[in-house]
Amino acid sequence: MSISVPDSPPLLTVKGLSAYYGESRALFGVGFSVEKGTVHSIVGANGAGKSTLLRAIVGMMNRGRAAHINGIVEFKGRRIDHLKTEEIVGLGVTMVPEGRRLFASMSVEENLLCGGFLARCRSAMDETLESVYDLFPRLADRRQQPVSQMSGGEQQMVSIGRALMSSPELILLDELSLGLAPIVVDQIYQRILTINQRGITCIVIEQDTERAMRVATSVSVLLEGRVVLEGDPDILGRDRVSAAYFGIDNAGISR
């Protein structure tokens, strides 16, 4: 029996992950891992497969003939690639989907309560709710307001808050900046850093490479369904990342 644990496994490991929509393939053997407590950014152009990758991790690509995946996804050393989305969420992984996807007929608080649907979340529901309001005071003032009457930024806060309600250990954030003013995006990413400081590991997808690199402790660049570059954003540097983003001068990069 060893006293010290030299290398605890990464929180999330993805190995040789391929994804298909019907016959067409969107991911080609993607691999990366994310350490606990970090912010991992995945950057890439439109159609590089970023959203597909996140959807695959949370089991939303397990749709029979319409969409499926191949490969390994491990969360805390346990394979989750064959599980259903609700089971994966039950284990502590969740996603803030692209386009926010709030429940349009409901108020702010009802949306948040939906996020805490899991049986394991219900006992501490009030505290979790307060911690979300603490994070986004603006929502606290608007608890009863229908989400359909809110600004895009506020809706994004609700969507993030709703994901937090399931008390995740890992949260996947899909293009938070979509359709929002830069100043609002700044505020929201401030909050993401706060969330990360509370111990929640984040995977961030952004088309805006600058922003993605600023918040990240590690970054993977996705090009046409493959990881073409990965590492510490400060060491890689902006030029190499944007070269990989556009698929220019791949020659020097080996994986």
């Binding site: 939303m60 029979g64 319409a66 039950g90 007929s105 009802e110 939906c114």
Partner: protein, 307 residues
């Protein structure tokens, strides 16, 4: 007061009163259809037959144990919940849009198949009832059939209708609170809003659909007992109630509880007033004219939620 004017006012008051009472009854007939459509985008063509099935269930129960017909609800509600739950879980879930997609079939199949399957189910239920109970018209006998509550000298309301109205309001209020205040209720509403995302909340879509269907069919069961107590019914009467339900849902708007109640009342008032002034044959025509009018002017219904 001028006597003619007095009687004219009494006519209108009676029409409004009966119409409102009828509205509660209509709302209970139709809320299940609105619920299954709102949550699962599924038009259950067997809705009316399931309602008639519940009426026969009450008849059967009363043959074994003579009791107040209202007590049969204690049997009818759980049995019909089970029927609705099982129907969705073991039959309709496997032909939903998502399930069809899994099998590599287009959305069209997912929308069309439940219509065909519930149409088939409608025929099966009607013929099974014919086999089991023959085609004789039945009624659920009760002590209140001819009783009325007297409001003024010339203004009465049927006791049965008044009780039904009370039950209807209680059920609609209960449903409202359930959908608003409980985790399960919110999950049903969340599914109606965006079923692709609900698994991210840890919600299990097939179970939520089955629960919604169970609730819908158990309320249809209550409607069945009400129908059976207020008029005669036969095995093939299902489509009559399906049509009422469609009418209410069209007038009131899909997926709105208040809409079902108000839609039911509007339909009820229109029918009763048309009957009063133009004779019984005008009743149905006026009802359908209202439905056509609403479809033409406000196709989403009067109380449709904005999406």
């Amino acid at each position: 007061m001028n006597e003619d004017l007095y009687w004219a006012l009494i006519d209108i008051a009676n029409g409004l009163l009966s119409g409102v009472m009828l509205g509660g009854y209509y709302a209970i007939i139709s809320i299940g259809l609105a619920l299954t459509f709102g949550v699962m985008r599924l038009v259950n063509l067997a809705h009316g037959d399931l309602l008639v099935l519940a009426a026969y269930l009450a008849v059967l129960a009363l043959q074994f144990v003579p009791m107040s017909p209202f007590i049969t609800l204690a049997l009818v509600i759980p049995v019909m919940f089970g029927v609705g739950y099982a129907l969705q879980r073991f039959m309709l879930n496997s032909i939903s849009v998502q399930s069809m997609e899994r099998r590599g079939m287009s959305t069209g199949y997912g929308l069309m198949s439940p219509i065909l399957v519930t149409f088939g189910l409608s025929i099966v239920i009607a013929h099974a009832l014919l086999g089991g109970f023959a085609s004789d018209a039945r009624i659920i006998r009760n002590a209140l059939s001819y009783s009325a509550v007297r409001l003024t000298e010339d203004l009465n309301v049927s006791t049965l209708r008044l009780i039904f109205f009370g039950i209807a309001v209680a059920i609609l209020l209960g449903l409202h609170l359930f959908l608003k205040r409980t985790h399960a209720g919110r999950a049903i509403r969340a599914s109606a809003d965006d079923v692709e995302i609900t698994p991210l909340m840890g919600m299990v879509t097939p179970k939520i659909n089955a629960m919604a269907s169970g609730i819908a069919i158990s309320i249809a069961g209550v409607a069945g007992v009400m129908v059976g107590m207020s008029r005669t019914f036969q095995p093939f009467d299902g489509p009559v109630f399906l049509l009422i339900a469609f009418g209410v849902v069209i007038v009131g708007g899909m997926g709105s509880i208040v809409g079902s109640l108000v839609g039911g009342m509007l339909l009820g008032i229109t029918q009763v007033l048309a009957g009063t002034y133009f004779g019984p044959s005008a009743q149905l025509v006026a009802g359908y004219m209202l439905i056509l009018f609403v479809l033409a002017v406000r196709p989403q219904g009067l109380f449709a939620r904005r999406r």
